[in-house]
Amino acid sequence: MIIKTTRFGEIEVPEECIILFEGGLPGFPGETEFALFPYEKDSPFSIMQAIVNPDLTFLLADPYRFYNDYMFELDDQMAIDWGFSTENPPHVYTVATLKDTLEQMTVNLLAPIVVNWVTRIGAQLIIDNKHYSVQQLLFPEGIKMKPAPKETGRGG
């Protein structure tokens, strides 16, 4: 499928990377289809581009590449309704907000995007966790990836 975008011009996106968000996103209730693809090969970042609205482009970050102990509880009923299993686990992304410099970039840990890549359905959840912020610094120690995961997390 060829879509028009403001940031990338006309791009071709395979059907397999188009995700349906029933009800859209908070603030964008009418935007129900997005193409979701890696920013670069093996990058922790992804691009989420609205299919209909050329202007609507988000940068997503894989939270587990930055926060080893990021966690939230997925509602049991949602897990059943969405058909998640160990073979088809939910894929989690966080929405990044660009600032003047990359070092100031933040991610929204309170509203992760959950995707079922088998059914290609997604949703932005709103989680209840006072430790997380809608504006969590992604690079609190400058731009570099975290070293090996810590042994113990502080938990949710």
Binding site: R7, F8, L25, P26, G27, F28, Y39, E40, D42, S43, P44, F45, D55, L56, T57, F58, L59, Q77, V95, A96, T97, L98, L102, N108, L110, A111, Q124, I126, V134, Q135, I143, M145
Partner: protein, 74 residues
């Protein structure tokens, strides 16, 4: 917008399958019980508004070149 006055213990029905009950009024706080189907999402107003504001702020407005520094990250 409909504005109603309710006392503790009194309810408001919204449609056929949702209700709000004023549980307690203490000082400047009101405790409300919400009874709604599972698929109806319920959020505190300030949290939902913060998510909307952050989503709007997250829309990439500038040139994609501003992301070039992320290319080295694997």
């Amino acid at each position: 917008m409909l504005v109603l006055t309710r006392k503790p213990g009194e309810k408001i029905f919204i449609g056929d399958n949702m209700s709000l009950t004023v549980v307690e009024v203490k000082g400047d706080s009101v405790r409300i019980a919400v009874d709604a189907p599972r698929e109806v999402k319920i959020y505190r107003g300030e949290i939902y508004e913060a998510i909307i504001a952050e989503n709007k702020a997250a829309v990439i407005a500038g040139d994609m070149k501003q992301l070039d520094g992320l290319k080295k990250l694997k």
